[in-house]
């Protein structure tokens, strides 16, 4: 298809054509990416090979000062009068050797097993064995340190080579004073970046690598150091979360207040659902139900739980979509739905949420900005100031208050009831759909002002002559919006939309402070609720359940989701595709 054919297409056709082109290009892009990666690795090894060859040549050709520097770092520098560099090299080597000998080697050697000596009780004394957590943490730290040492050692040798060359050509070496002076001048970037790099390495890179490794262990509340060991389990955790067989339970649990919980089971034809409970009262209710229900139903005592209570198991065999309703107090649900099913549900809601939270805010915010900036509207500053209140006030105050406002005993329900409009509280936070819609609506309340500020700044930058010529051509307000304002905004804020989308995938505050992930759903595992995002679920796994292994896998998956979206969308952003459009 040539350019002229393309221009004749209608908008949706153009979009489809672009989409097709993009999908067709995916294998090519993938190949290119893989080829790039392979080239990178090849170059890396080439570089290492070259470096080693260089090291050997330097040793063979170098003088005795250089040769000593191979074992005593910084010797060559000191011998040639560059005492500052020499001392720094030497001190680093000494510190590293001491660290490795007295601390690092111990942890490094246990890294492959993560510890074998269990903590045991000898009489009344607890004898602590290996601590898997510390072995992993310090093991990674030691590897970091070793890498840093190897690099420094290489630099040290290279220094000697350079110094020899300089001396041979009859020039002078840099003195300590020169070195110090260069720290604020030619080498200023090193001074500037030293502290931030150290901080990021210790408090971001090290923890992330640690958690990535945890995803391949069985570290959870059953294997918690220092009492218990944990160990490597390969990709088992990824399989738990990504397994394809999902048991789609037709179970819905609703809290009716006063300790009564209703469980609705929709058993489709042929489905078998098992529910375990330790509650005798619930068991009795279920038994009574079995008598006058047409559902195929069986119950048995399958054992006892930790507290010695009987554990009942009910099995429902679905009969053409019939609802079985159980009502009981303290209904305890023991059977666990699968994590892979939960993951899919939570991921789906996360994406829906991110979509609405981004685009609804974007368009409404732009609309508000256009309204406020319209010629002839007075008190522009007042409107802006009022809206900006939600940015200024810390979210934990505004969101917590609004969350309580919509609670069952909150202001909204209370007022509606006292006016006689409703008889029982509206299920703002107990019904999945209500909760989801409400969260998106409240997010508009929080998010519009931000977009309004951004849009205001950009709208003012749109060249006025564009509008002028549009007006002369007789375009109405809607047409100018569609043909000028929107394309310009999308062009400028394309990258922002992308960051905002991934930001919303990780938008912890809104969900956590408003609903806390509730309402809880029966068919979701790991305490997940219907409004939980991946990130709030990850939080629950870490803080409430101590299920660190799955939390780590989740974190990696969130990263993958964000990275994929970034890569794909980046190809569709107009400012990347046709950079010259508005310049």
């Amino acid at each position: 298809m040539n350019d002229l054919d393309f221009l004749k297409l209608s908008k949706p056709q153009k979009f489809l054509h672009n989409l097709k082109k993009f999908i067709v290009s995916i294998p090519g892009r993938l190949m290119a990416a893989i080829a790039g990666l392979v080239m990178w690795v090849v170059n890396l090894f080439k570089g290492i090979g070259k470096g080693i060859a260089d090291l050997v040549m330097t040793y063979v050709r170098g003088d005795w000062k250089t040769k000593v520097s191979y074992t005593v770092m910084g010797f060559g520098s000191m011998a040639r009068g560059q005492w500052l560099r020499g001392i720094l090299f030497f001190v680093f080597q000494t510190v590293f050797n001491l660290y490795l000998a007295f601390f690092g080697i111990n942890y490094l050697s246990k890294l492959s097993t993560l510890g074998t000596v269990e903590t045991a009780k000898k009489g009344r004394v607890t004898v602590y064995g290996d601590n898997s957590f510390l072995i992993l943490l310090y093991g990674v730290l030691t590897i970091f340190f070793v890498a840093a040492f190897l690099y420094t050692w290489y630099v040290n040798v290279k220094q000697n080579k350079i110094s020899e060359q300089i001396l041979k050509s009859g020039r002078k070496l840099k003195t300590a004073k020169d070195d110090l002076a260069s720290m604020v001048d030619t080498q200023f970037h090193k001074t500037l970046l030293a502290l931030p790099t150290l901080g990021v390495t210790l408090f971001t890179i090290l923890p992330i690598i640690f958690m990535i490794l945890v995803a391949f262990t069985n570290y959870d509340n059953q294997h918690q150091p220092p009492q218990k060991l944990f160990t490597w389990v390969g990709t088992a955790n990824f399989e738990t979360l990504l397994a394809s067989d999902s048991n789609d339970l037709g179970i819905d649990l609703q809290d009716k207040g006063n300790g009564v919980t209703t469980m609705t089971i929709t058993a489709k034809n042929g489905d078998i659902i098992t529910v375990d409970t330790t509650d005798a009262e619930a068991a009795a209710a279920a038994d009574a139900l079995a008598v006058d229900s047409s559902a195929n139903f069986a119950s048995e005592v399958i054992g006892q739980d930790e507290n010695g209570k009987d554990l009942y198991r009910f099995t429902f065999m679905g009969d053409a979509g019939e609802d079985v309703v159980l009502e009981a107090s303290n209904w305890i649900y023991v059977a666990t739905p699968s994590f892979s099913h939960t993951f899919k549900q939570v991921l789906l809601w996360t994406l829906i949420w991110a979509f609405f939270a981004t685009f609804l805010n974007y368009f409404l915010g732009m609309l508000v900005a256009i309204m406020i900036n319209k010629k002839g509207i007075k008190f522009k500053k007042l409107w802006r100031t009022i809206l900006v209140m939600t940015i200024a006030i810390p979210q934990f105050i505004s969101l917590l208050y609004v969350s309580k406002m919509f609670a069952a005993d909150g202001l909204i329900n209370g007022m509606l009831m006292s006016w006689g409009w409703i008889t029982e509280p509206l299920p703002f936070w107990t019904n999945t759909t209500w909760a989801r819609v409400l969260i998106i609506a409240i997010n508009v309340w929080i998010g519009i002002p931000y977009l309004m500020l951004i849009a205001t700044g950009i709208l003012m930058n749109i060249p006025a002559d564009l509008y002028e010529s549009a007006r002369i051509d007789g375009a109405n307000a809607f047409q100018t919006y569609m043909k000028i304002t929107l394309p310009y905004m999308l062009f400028i804020t394309g990258p922002y939309l992308l960051t905002s989308f991934t930001g919303n995938i990780n938008n912890f505050n809104v969900i956590f402070l408003l609903s806390g992930g509730k309402p809880l759903a029966m068919d979701l595992a790991g305490n997940a609720g219907s409004t939980d995002l991946l990130i709030t679920w990850l939080y629950k796994m870490t803080v409430t359940d101590s299920n660190y292994k799955l939390a780590a896998v989740m974190g990696i998956l969130v990263f993958v989701v964000c990275a994929v979206i970034n890569l794909v969308v980046y190809n569709f952003i107009p400012s990347v595709k046709n950079e010259e459009d508005f310049q």
Binding site: F133, D185, T186, F188, H189, L192, L193, L195, P196, V200, L202, F203, T204, P207, I208, M211, M371, I377, W383, T385, I386, V388, M389, T390, I391, A392, I393, P394, F396, I397, S398, L400, Y401, K404, M405, A407, L411, G414, S418, W445, L453, I454, T456, G457, I458, G474, I492, P495, Y496, L498, N509, L513, T542, V543, A551, G555, V558, F559, C562, A563
Partner: protein, 380 residues
């Protein structure tokens, strides 16, 4: 009768390659009426929005003055007006002068270090600039700001708040916010200046690594950070410095907005100063810093406001140690524990007291905030 020719302008839309017919402008009078109707609609929408935007905050303030019940009620305007909720927040707070450290040596050290700091600052202010490059108002102001913040932090514990949770939480948060504002700004400026003005090996690599690291969810690493802090003794009782350390250590990763700003400052300025013999450091603090004032203020503002809403990590690090909560953790617990019924109005009062200073500060510096977010959105 002559056939009426419709009044139609013909316009060539070059991009689409089509000839379109466009209606000519309508008469001016009807246009004015139309304009008025549009404006009326806009005013209605804006007023409605303002009500929705302000209502929760008005309710919050009103309920903080309610005397008759500590829980949630079905009406807005209190039947009994009272200051009891506010009084509760300050119960047991004795305002006495006390230094940060209690034993004599610590007091002596604090005083001496402050004296040295003051002397250094005075010397810095009185010094005669040798060349025009050093003559810069901007860095003096910045130095003064840092100095004022340091002083404030030193004397902040003047309020002995050992008996009163809320005052203590407030002070904890204030200390964290002040430190974060200063240190984070320093880190961000360092990174963004280096990445924007200097070209060196590994620059692209650093930017890519930061981009990739940014895609990992922040809470993933919570337990590791907790253990790292625990090793340093900075959890529970030491949670305040621990939080400062964690939120400042990686703050260099948020360099995007200020790098975008630095990119817009012409490089010729640097070059001419370098020809005049200025070092990179001198260029940094006497040429770039004064020009970067808006972005410096934006970064300070963001650093200061962040800790006021920090709940997750703060509650994890301070777990079970009431004295090192920040306001978010403390008030969240008030409103979400079993007896929140009794604490709801107190939460409202606390919320009002936190919101007022933050909102005022934000409103005062709004200009810089807008500059920051707009620049950030454009550059992505």
């Amino acid at each position: 009768m002559a056939k009426q020719i419709p009044e139609v302008d013909i316009v060539v839309d070059e991009k689409a390659g089509v000839i379109r017919e466009v209606q000519p402008e309508k008469k001016l009078r009807s246009k004015k009426g139309h304009e008025r109707r549009v404006n009326a609609t806009i005013y209605t929408i804006l007023i409605l929005m303002s009500i929705i935007w302000l209502c929760p905050f008005v309710f919050l303030v009103l309920q903080s003055f309610r005397g008759e019940s500590g829980g949630q009620v079905a009406y807005v305007i209190p039947k009994q007006w009272t200051l009891d909720n506010y009084r509760f927040l300050f119960e047991g707070a004795a305002f006495s002068v006390q230094l940060l450290f209690k034993d004599t040596l610590a007091v002596v050290l604090t005083v001496v270090s402050n004296l040295i700091g003051i002397a250094g600052m005075v010397a810095f202010l009185r010094r005669k600039p040798k060349n025009p490059i050093e003559k810069s108002e901007g860095n003096l102001k910045a130095a003064l700001l840092v100095f004022a913040a340091l002083l404030l932090v030193n004397f902040i514990r003047c309020v002995d708040s050992s008996n009163c949770d809320f005052v203590r939480w407030f002070m904890n948060t204030l200390i964290i916010a002040l430190f974060c504002a200063v240190i984070q700004t320093f880190m961000v400026l360092c990174v963004s200046y280096a990445l924007s003005r200097m070209r060196f090996k590994g620059r692209k690599l650093i930017m890519n690594v930061v981009l990739v690291l940014g895609m990992f969810p922040g809470f993933l690493t919570m337990i590791v950070l907790y253990y790292l802090l625990k090793m340093l003794g900075l959890t529970q009782a030491g949670a305040v410095p621990g939080l400062i350390l964690v939120s400042c250590a990686s703050s260099g990763m948020g360099y995007y907005i200020s790098k975008g700003f630095f990119d817009t400052i012409p490089k010729s300025l640097d070059e001419s100063a370098r020809i005049d013999g200025a070092t990179r450091l001198q260029v940094f603090y006497s040429i770039i810093m004064p020009m970067a004032k808006p972005i410096v203020i934006y970064t300070i503002l963001m650093g200061f406001m962040g800790p006021w809403g920090d709940y997750v990590f703060a509650s994890y690090v301070a777990f079970g140690h009431k004295a090192s909560y920040n306001v978010a953790v403390g008030l969240y617990r008030w409103v979400n524990t079993n007896d929140y019924q009794g604490y709801f109005t107190r939460f409202c009062a606390g919320g009002v007291l936190v919101a007022i200073p933050i909102t005022l500060l934000f409103m005062a510096l709004q200009k810089y905030y807008v500059e920051g977010v707009t620049g950030g959105a454009v550059k992505g």
